[in-house]
Symmetry: C2
Subunit: 304 residues, 2 copies
């Protein structure tokens, strides 16, 4: 970790505080209006999958992109929490024996290990439903039209043409080795779609012009690609202790990644290029975008 | 099947026509705006789980309850399709080896049998996201406030305090035998919540007064309870051929149901009482509610 990234990491930790508190409240055992009861074991599994010390990068991107357009901070916090529920549900299902079969996540037992497979499947399902519940709720103080627009963008980023579609392509990649364009598409869907949504969400929250929304989405796409490249590099170079999960799995599985295709040096050059591209996209916003620019650097240089 | 139910079954089939066409369109391989690509195998699995000859009872309830309040028919059709996506995703996940481990559904291989477990998990996930996509889309010609209200009610009916919570309680019921109140709560969540939403949805679609919304929701609760009682009776008396799935599983598993607790004759009396209660709730709407009343009878008397 380079010295000039310390202020960013401090900002990340600071922003995570209110988010953790909101997530804890949303994952409470007490039923909401219209709910009959919240089974304790299910809620415990959901909390295990969400309140696990994640860096909350996606929520940070929602909150910072919202701040860029002076959107309401409380509304942004709720959208950020919803997005984190989607991200965490996807990790729970991804870790299942039928999927990546991982026992560890951030150094802790995965949900199906700490509970059981059926509970992990249901906890993931409930988190996905909760995400849309959170945004749709009137407590997210936005006009209905804007809540609906956020839900549409989130559902599309998460669904068959986004994250879940990317997970499907990733599973198939073990049999059908994709070419370079196939790998890029897979990654733009699997990890890129939610990061893109995170950055776009601020513009939607604020009802910003379409051009701003598109610019932020492109920024999201660039750092999403950088995120995945950094991940592939880490898988090659880091050890399990550093990552809190199994590493070297990609290479062992002969998995097609851009790093496997072009090597680590190429990947590092690419990362620099993507950060530059991301920064250029934010230049029109001047000083207000400084933390988002730091986020791009952080994503590209992360070591865990 | 009694003779006086034939007209209702004809209405059910007739209403299903446009719904099947819409579902087929929504589950197309071609990506929508904002989507990158829709993996063929994933879409095929989603279609397998949805376009399977279901009776489309829940969509029928949405469309009829919407008609009761003169809501827009096209908007109701889309909400109906969304609800069916939620219902079908829950069946796909429920059939998984880690859950009920069923090989057959409506006489066909379940999704994890026709494809594989990972694909079935992802197909279910994608269907849940798609449901919210459908309602949130501007193509559902309703004010944003109303789309958001429908999404909130659907998410809450589907989530930890509704259907998924009920599935969790159902899994636990094999270990912790629930008492009568516990069984009723379990069933109100597992099967009741979505049926209740189906009936309530029409009132939300139309922006009907809160009293109407509550009345339709109560109607939904009554027929939801009837649906489950009829299901438990069928499990006791029907054979696998008739049901298109394994039967007698509840008794074999020593599973706590109201039928197991009180016997078949008590259940038949209860069913009559619930139909009467459901009908009384719709009396204020006169002739306009005749098909919904038929639906209550159908649910209580169904033989498959």
């Amino acid at each position: 970790m380079k010295d000039d990234q310390m202020p960013f990491e401090a900002a990340l930790v600071e922003r995570a505080g209110p988010l953790e508190a909101l997530l804890r409240r949303l994952l409470d055992d007490r039923p909401l209006s219209g709910e009959i009861a919240r089974p304790q074991r299910l809620m415990a599994a959901m909390r295990h999958g969400v309140l696990n010390g994640g860096k909350r990068l996606r929520p940070f991107l929602v909150m910072e992109s919202a701040a860029l357009f002076s959107a309401d901070g409380e509304a942004a916090l709720r959208v950020a929490a919803a997005l984190e529920c989607v991200h965490c549900y996807s990790l729970i299902h991804d870790d299942l024996p039928a999927m990546d079969d991982d026992d560890l996540r951030r150094g802790q037992p995965t949900v199906h290990k700490a509970f059981d497979e059926a509970t992990a499947i249901l906890a993931g399902d409930a988190l996905l439903a909760l995400a849309f519940d959170i945004v749709a709720d009137e407590a997210t103080m936005l006009p209905g039209e804007r809540r609906a627009a956020l839900i549409l963008a989130l559902a599309r980023a998460a669904g068959a043409g986004g994250m879940v579609g990317g997970q499907m392509l990733d599973l198939e990649a073990e049999r059908i080795r994709p070419d370079e364009a196939g790998i890029i598409r897979l990654q733009a869907m699997k990890t890129g779609a939610l990061i893109r949504f995170a950055c776009e969400a601020g513009a939607i929250l604020a009802g910003a012009p379409a051009a701003d929304r598109e610019r932020l989405a492109e920024f999201g796409s660039a750092i999403g690609l950088a995120f995945q490249l950094a991940d592939d590099l880490l898988d090659l170079t880091a050890d399990a202790h550093q990552m809190g999960k199994a590493t070297g799995k990609d290479a062992a599985a002969g998995k097609a990644t851009l790093v496997a295709l072009h090597g680590a040096n190429w990947a590092r050059d690419q990362l620099q290029g993507l950060v530059g591209q991301a920064h250029a996209l934010l230049d029109p916003y001047g000083e207000a975008a400084v933390l988002l620019k730091e986020a791009a650097k952080f994503v590209a240089a992360r070591t865990s």
